[in-house]
Amino acid sequence: MMGSAMTGRLALASAGVGLLAVVSLFVGVGDVTLASLSGDAGDSGQAAQILLISRIPRTLALILAGAAMAVAGLILQMLARNKFVEPSTAGTAESAVLGMLAVTLLAPDTPVIGRMLTASLFALGGTALFLAILRRMPLRSPLVVPLVGIMLGAVITAGTEFVAYRYDLMQSVRNWETGDFSGVLRGRYELLWISAALTGVAYVAADRFTVAGLGEDFTTNLGLNHRRVVSLGLVIVSLVTAAVIATCGMIPFLGLIVPNVISLMWGDNMRRSLPWVALLGAGLVLACDIVGRLVIHPYEIPIGTMMGMVGSGIFLYLLLRKNGHAS
C-alpha cells in the first residue's frame, strides 16, 4: 500500500536523520573535525580514537534508542487504545527502574544483559498490571487512562525511592530516571541492538497491532488471538524500555509525541506509520542531544532534560490543539 511518493518522502526523511547523525559525530568536547582526522599522525590518531570509542557509539545509541522508544510508545498506544499512553505514563518505565534497583541490590555482580532482562520482567509486570486495571474500568474517558498510568507509576516510584533511600542508591535511581548519552562508549551501548531487532519484529507484526488497536471484538472477528497480540506487544515494549533505561536512562515524552505527530500526518495504519515513527524518533533524539551538547558547552544538558523541555512543549501543543477540535 506504500505509494512511490511515500517512499520518496521516507527516503528524504532518512537523509535528514543521516545528516543529523553526521553532525552528531562532529559535535562535542573533544575536537573531531575533518581536518583533525586527516591531519598529522598524532592528532588524527586521537581524533579517530574519539570517533571510534565515543562518537560513533553515541550516535548509534541515539538512533537506536530514539527509534525504539518511539515505536514502543506507538505499540503501547495501540494496545491501550489511547493516544496519551507511553512507557512513562503506563508504569512501564517506573517498573523497569524498580527492576534495575532490585538487581543492583540483590545481585550486584549481574552482567548488564541480566540487569536488563530483570528490568524488563519488572516492566512487563507493571505494564500488564496497568492494562489489567484499564480492563476493569467501566468508563474510560481518554484522558483518565494516562492519569491512571501516572498514578500507578507514582506508586511504583514511591516504592523505589523508599528502598533507594534506605540503601543510599538515590543517585543511581536519578540516573536511570534521567536519560543521558554522555556516558555511552564502545562496549556500553550494544544492548540497544536488541531494541533495534525488536523494532524489526514490531514492523513484521505491524498489522496485528493495528488490528489490536481496533479493539478486542474486531481482533477476534479477524481470527487473531487478542491476548497473544497484546502479550507480544507487552514483551516488545518492556524489553525496549528496559534496554534503554539500562543503557542511558529514561527519555520522557518521546513515545508520546512522536506517534501522535505521525498519527496526525499519516494515520494509524502501523504498516505505514511505523517507519515514520522510527525515523522521527531517531531524528528528534539526535537533534535534542546535539543541542544539549552545544548550549552550555563545554558542559552538556542530558537528553532526559532536553526531551523534558522540548517534549512538554510539543505535548502541550498537541493536547490543547487536539482537545480544541475534538470537543
Binding site: F84, S88, L129, A132, I133, R136, M137, P138, L139, S141, L143, V144, P146, L147, V148, I150, M151, L152, A154, V155, I156, A158, G159, E161, F162, Y165, M170, Q171, R174, N175, E177, T178, D180, P252, F253, Y299, I301, P302, G304, T305, M307, G308, M309, G311, S312, F315, L316, L319, L320, N323, G324, S327
Partner: protein
C-alpha cells in the same frame, strides 16, 4: 492505623449513625495523640511535650489539609483514584528545593529565615496553579482531565529540570536536597505552624460554608449545571482552595502524595452517605489518626527514625494499588 479500625468502624458505619462513627473516630484520634505525646517520655516533661507537641500539631494540620484537599479534588473530578498532588505540586516543591541549594549552597539555605522560605514556597506553588487554571479556563470550557494532564506535563518538565540540577550538584549538597524531598515531621518550625494554621482556618471557613454545593458537584458536571450550580466557578474555587491547602501542607513538612488517597477512600467505605458534611470530618479524623498512629508505631514500636514520610508514602501507595485492583476504579 486505620486498618485496626476496620471491623468496629465498618460496623458502625453501616449499622449506626454517622454521629457514632465520628465519636468513635474522635476518641481513637485523641487516644492516639495522647499516646504519641506520652509513650516512653523520660526526662524533662516540658521539653518533651513541647517537642512532640509541635510534631503532633504539624501532623494534625497536614492530616487535615491532605484529607480535605483530596476529598474535594476527587469530588470535582468525579474520580476516586486521583490526588491533587499529581498536578505538579510535589515536583515543583522539589524543584524549588533543588534550585535553592544549587544557587545558594546548602549552608546558605539553612540560614534563610524559615518564614521567608515558607512564604516563597507557598507563593510559588499557589501562583503556579493559579496561572495554570487561569490559562486553561480562559480558553473556554476545557475539561478537568485536560487540566490535570497539563499539570502533569509541567510536572515532567519540573522533574527533568531538577533531575538535571541534581546531577551537576555536589554529592554532599545532593544529600541535603534529598532529605528535603521527603516528608518529615521532625524539622517543622514552630513559627510556621501558627501561620499555616491561620491560612488553613481561613480556607476552612470558605469550605464549610459550601458543603451542600460539594454534594451537588459530586453528581458530575451535567447534573450540577442542570441543578443550577455555576459549575465552572465552583470548580475553579475548589481548585484554588485545594491548591492553597496542598501548598501549605507541602511547604510545612514536604510532599505527602498518597496519604490523601488512603484516607479519602477509607472514608468512603466507612461512610455510606455521599454528604460532605460527614465525609469530610471522617476523612480528616482518619488523616490525623493515620499520621499520629502510624508515626507512633513506626517510631516507638519499630524504631524507625528517619524519613517516616517515605514509609507512609510507601504504605499509602500499596493501599492505593490494592484499592485500584480490588474495586474497579471510577
Amino acid at each position: 492505623m486505620p486498618r485496626d479500625l476496620r471491623s468496629p468502624g465498618g460496623a458502625a458505619g453501616r449499622a449506626a449513625s454517622p454521629v457514632l462513627l465520628l465519636a468513635t473516630l474522635s476518641v481513637l484520634t485523641v487516644a492516639s495523640v495522647v499516646l504519641f505525646l506520652t509513650v516512653n517520655a523520660r526526662g524533662n516533661w516540658g521539653f518533651i511535650l513541647g517537642f512532640r507537641g509541635t510534631k503532633v500539631a504539624a501532623m494534625a494540620l497536614v492530616g487535615y489539609a491532605v484529607a480535605v484537599s483530596t476529598v474535594l479534588f476527587q469530588t470535582i473530578t468525579n474520580n476516586r483514584i486521583l490526588t491533587p498532588s499529581i498536578m505538579g505540586f510535589d515536583v515543583l516543591y522539589r524543584l524549588i528545593q533543588t534550585v535553592l541549594v544549587f544557587q545558594l549552597g546548602s549552608a546558605a539555605v539553612a540560614g534563610i529565615d524559615p518564614r521567608l522560605r515558607f512564604g516563597v514556597e507557598v507563593g510559588a506553588m499557589v501562583a503556579f496553579s493559579w496561572l495554570l487554571y487561569r490559562w486553561l479556563f480562559s480558553g473556554g470550557v476545557r475539561g478537568l482531565h485536560l487540566l490535570m494532564l497539563v499539570g502533569i506535563v509541567f510536572g515532567v518538565l519540573f522533574r527533568s529540570l531538577s533531575g538535571f540540577l541534581q546531577r551537576i550538584i555536589d554529592p554532599n549538597e545532593f544529600l541535603v536536597v534529598q532529605d528535603r524531598m521527603f516528608a518529615s515531621f521532625n524539622r517543622v518550625d514552630a513559627h510556621l505552624l501558627a501561620v499555616s494554621a491561620v491560612v488553613i482556618l481561613a480556607v476552612s471557613v470558605v469550605i464549610w460554608r459550601r458543603m451542600k454545593v460539594f454534594d451537588v458537584l459530586a453528581l458530575g458536571r451535567e447534573a450540577a449545571i442542570n441543578l443550577g450550580v455555576d459549575h465552572r466557578r465552583a470548580v475553579t474555587l475548589v481548585l484554588v482552595l485545594v491548591s492553597v491547602l496542598v501548598s501549605v501542607s507541602t511547604a510545612l513538612v514536604g510532599p505527602v502524595t498518597f496519604l490523601g488517597l488512603l484516607v479519602a477512600n477509607f472514608a468512603y467505605t466507612l461512610v455510606r452517605t455521599h454528604e460532605h458534611r460527614v465525609i469530610l470530618p471522617v476523612a480528616v479524623l482518619l488523616g490525623i489518626l493515620t499520621l499520629t498512629g502510624g508515626q507512633l508505631i513506626l517510631e516507638r514500636v519499630m524504631g524507625f527514625n528517619s524519613a517516616l514520610g517515605i514509609v507512609i508514602e510507601f504504605l499509602g501507595g500499596i493501599a492505593f494499588l490494592f484499592i485500584l485492583v480490588r474495586r474497579s476504579a471510577r
